[in-house]
Subunit: 235 residues, 2 copies
């Protein structure tokens, strides 16, 4: 598969994927992080060829052929007690998945959990939107998100669903131990079965006239609340 953009290609090189070929414009070839690559075929070419290879005009002069994205296992991410996970219920916008993966990686969350169906996957556009963060955080695909939450609770995690009408405010919660944050798609929110599988529904105060935060802003606020005072995760 192809990833494109300076940060996504740089992070793919630093992360676990195998990078087999990098295409650069002359301008991008001056960037030291690409010039010093070993064991990788490098071609300096035109911006047009790079756009043709990656199918996007947002390539910033760089694209790379990399091995397929390797998803984590749902059971495996529940095997580290005391972690913070973020699960997305039917989020279909690559920008939102990418933005949340980036915030989750920065906050020190262990993993992003997405359902197999009706969710965007880790596409090149998601890699780009995450600024390459998906190379450094586990992304688990699970068959059924409500079932995963039941399993998470059995494994000692506390599951908090984000809901504008949630009974408890996020800043009233003591975020200790294992936590799964659950966010729904913009506009529709959590599906009833997913909401029912959460231990608590939590709200972020809205003090203006707009009805909701964006899912990526809500994710950033909850991720930093839940990880406050925690150490870096061990990978």
């Amino acid at each position: 598969v192809i990833v494109y953009g300076r940060n996504p290609v740089r992070e793919a090189i630093l992360g676990p994927r195998t990078v087999s070929h990098v295409w650069l414009t002359k301008g991008a070839a001056r960037d030291a992080s690409f010039a010093s690559l070993r064991g990788v075929a490098i071609s300096v070419t035109s911006s047009e060829e790079i756009e043709h290879r990656c199918g996007s005009s947002s390539h910033q002069g760089v694209c790379a052929e990399v091995s397929a994205f390797s998803y984590a296992d749902g059971d495996a991410v529940l095997g580290k007690p005391g972690s913070v996970l973020i699960a997305l219920d039917q989020v279909q916008d690559p920008q939102n998945l990418g933005a949340i993966a980036r915030s989750a990686e920065c906050a020190g969350a262990l993993a992003v959990v997405i359902p197999e169906r009706r969710s965007v996957e880790i596409t090149p556009a998601v890699c780009k939107a995450s600024a390459g963060a998906v190379e450094h955080i586990a992304v688990a695909r699970v068959r059924n998100l409500a079932d995963f939450l039941v399993q998470a609770k059995d494994s000692g995690f506390w599951c908090y669903g984000a809901d504008a009408s949630g009974a408890r405010r996020y800043d009233e919660i003591t975020w200790s131990g294992g936590v799964v944050l659950v966010l729904g798609a913009e506009g529709t929110g959590l599906r009833p079965r997913v909401a029912a599988a959460c231990d608590e529904l939590v709200s972020i105060p809205l003090r203006g006239r707009i009805e909701s935060l964006s899912v990526s802003a809500a994710g950033a606020v909850l991720l930093y609340a839940a990880t406050a005072g925690r150490a870096r995760p061990r990978s």
Copy 2:
């Protein structure tokens, strides 16, 4: 000027701008918030005509002719002691300005402050990215951001610049009284003169391998930290 998209047009109708004409597709015309408009010319038309009028394919079947966006005055937003403001130094991406305006409106901040030069203005794309939030929050344009911060400090505001190498962590701060949050553009950060005009530089912990949060995620985290426990702003 033209605004487009369901939320942006709905909020333009609810906000202070004059809406003179709304164009809807048949599908969008079923939406009650547009059907009940009074004193506004409504045309039901094709998706193609709407795209032609607004110059974007992200119109969701709605666009409207509205009066020009009315910026707030820098002096006026400093006239409300105890408020939270967010200032953006040379943020040029409409998505970032829109996302931050939305989070600021939701968090209950009083205003977004942008410099007159080298900053994106309130364009239709910004209205769309903000989900219409710019209709309900003051946006002040100032000639020089560093001078504005000096003036803010004289007016009793405490100015916090976001900086990954900032000496104090954002979660160690007692966010009381008047606050100006200052964020720089992604990649470049705050300009030296703007950073020097801040009372303190604050950092958000990065516990992963990625070098920075997105400016919109950092904005959401700082806005909710700074407004925690505050009441709704009076407008």
